[in-house]
Amino acid sequence: MSQVELRSLTKHYGRQPALDNVEVSIRDGEFFVIFGRPGAGKSTTLKVIAGIEDPTDGQVVFGDQPMNGIPPQRRNVAMAFESYALYPHISVAANLEFPLKAPGRSIGIDERQRRISEVAELLEITPLLNRRPSQLSGGQRQRVSLGRALVRSGTGVSVTLLDEPIAHLDARLRHWLRGELRHYQQKADTTTVYASPDYVEAFAVADRLMVLIDGRVRQVGTPLEIQTHPADTDVAGMIGDPKMNLLGLDSSGELARQARQHGAHPAAATVGIWPTDAKLDRTQGGIPGTVYVVEPLGEDAIVRVDVPGGRMQIKTSSSQTYRPGEPINVHPAWERAHYFGGDGARIGGGAL
C-alpha cells in the first residue's frame, strides 16, 4: 500500500482529451472515490494508474516512485474492471486464485484457499466456485470480478482500483456490499480508488472524493465538504438525492427579491436549495408555486413544485397530502441556501 499521486495527468484519445491536467494526491490507506457521470474520465484515470493506458502527459507516482513506463504486472495493483474481464476458460475459484499464483508471489496453497473462501463468503459466491463465468448471471460475474481484486488485499498491493464494482448488482446486495467494502478496506488498510457515477454510493463509502467533469477535476474533498461547499453549479447539480435545486435569480423576479431580502450575495446568479431545506405551506407568504407531481416514499414524500425560477424538488413528510395542480407556497430555509455567481462558481452561503 502506498500514497498515489497524479501529477498534471493528461490523456488524449486521438485529439479528444479524456483527462485534462488531473492533479490529486491520494493518501496512504485512504478510500478515495472518483465521482462523475459516464464518460467523465473515471475509467481512464484508473487505467492510467494501473498502467494499462499510458498518460499523454504528466506522472503517476506511488509513494516516491514514479510509475511512468512501468507495466501493470510490475506495479502490484489490484483492479476490478467495469466490464468484469473474467477468464472465461477457467472456473470461478481459478479466476480468484489466478492473481495469487502470479510469478514471484510466494503464497502457499493453504493461504490461497483461505483467501478465496474468505472473499467468496463476503461476496456470497461460495456456491459458484466450481462454475465457469459463462454459467453465471451478470451480477454474479461482477462479484467474481470484485473478488479477484479483493483477494489480494494485504498481500502488499500498492493500490486497489475498483471501477464501478457493484453497479450491476441488485439493490439489496449493492447496499449491503457498500458497507462491507468499507469495512474490508479499513481492516486490510489498503489504499483504494473507487470509481462511481452513483451519488449515494460514492458519498457513503468515501474518505474523500474527487468530482470529475469532462476529464477535469472540479473539486476534491470529504463528502461533507463537498455537500456543504459545492465548488460550482456543475458539482452542485450532481450531488444530493434528490439533487440540489438550482434556481436562476433573474433580477426582477419574486425569487430574487426574496433571496436578497434574506441576505443573498449581490452578485448571485443562481441559488441552490437542498430538497430538505424548504417547507411547503398552503396559507402564507413564501414563493408561490404549483404542485407538479408527488412521489410518496414511505415516511417521506418528494413533491415537485413549479416555481418562477424553475422546478423544485422538496422532501416533506408524507403525512401531508398534496394534489397535482394545487397552488402552494414554498418557504426555503434561506440561511442555508447556497449562492453561485454568473460563471457558476460558488460565492457564498451554505452554513450548516
Binding site: H89, P103, H168
Partner: protein, 277 residues
Amino acid sequence: MDRIRRLALLGVWGLFAIFPVYWMAITAFKEQRDIYQGPFVVPGVDFQPTLQSWEYIAGTGRDQILLGFGNSVLFAAVSSFLAVVIGAFAAYGLARYKYRFGPFTNSDLSFLIVSQRIMPPIVAVIALFAMFRFVGLLDTHFGMILVYTWFNLPLTVFILTDFMSRIPVEIEHAAAIDGYGKFDQIRKVMLPLAMPGMAAAYLLSFFFVWNDFLLALMLTFRDAQTLPIVITALSAQMEPRWWLISAIGLLAIIPPALAAIVLDRFMERQVLRGGIR
C-alpha cells in the same frame, strides 16, 4: 426451409457424399476382374470380397507404403503444429499492436502474409526446386517440413488474426494487473481462449499437407516421399491397380479423420462467453 426439406437435403447430400467413399471401401476388397466386369455394388452378392490388396499392403508393398504413410503423418503433424504456433504469435501481434514500415501498416502486413496463399503453387514450384537443390534440401524431411510450414502459415495467420482480435483486450489487461508478464499473458490467457481457432487452423493445415501432391511431386523422390507420391508410383502400371489404390486410400482417411475427431471437441467450445459484460 421446413423440416422435411431440410432432412431431404441432408439425406440426398449424405448419399452423394458417402457413396464414393463406400465405393472406394468395397473396391479395396475387389480383384481386378471384379472391377472391370462391374459395376458391382453389394459385396457378397455381386462379387466375393478378397483380401488381395491388404495382403499386398502387408507384404510386398509394406516398406514403401509405410514410408509414404509415415512421412505424410510426420509432415502434416509437425508442419501444422509449427504453422499454428508461429501463426498464433504473429496473429497476436497483428491483432494487438500497430506496425509501421514506411507507408505500410498492419493491413498491408496481413495482406503480404496472406497473399502467399493466393499464389498458385505452380508459380513457385519450379523456382523452389532450383532453390532446394542449391541448398541441399531436396528430398529431406527438414526441407519438406519447412516448405509445408511456409505453405500453411498464411492460412493460420489469416484464421487466427480474426480470432485473436475477437478476444476482449480487457481480459489480457486483467492478466497484466494480476501480475503476469507479456509472455505469460499470451500463454495462460490468449492461447487457451484462441483454442477453437487454433484447432480449426491446425485441422485445415493438416488437411492441406495431407492432400498436397504438387510440392511433394517436385521436391521429393525417395526418402521424403509422401503417400500420394507412393500411390502414384504404384499406379504407374499398364492398367492401374484400382483395388490397391482404394485400399491405401481407405487407410489414408484415418489420420485426418482422427485429427478431425480429436480437434472437433475443441472447436465446439464457445470459450469466449462470460468473459466480459
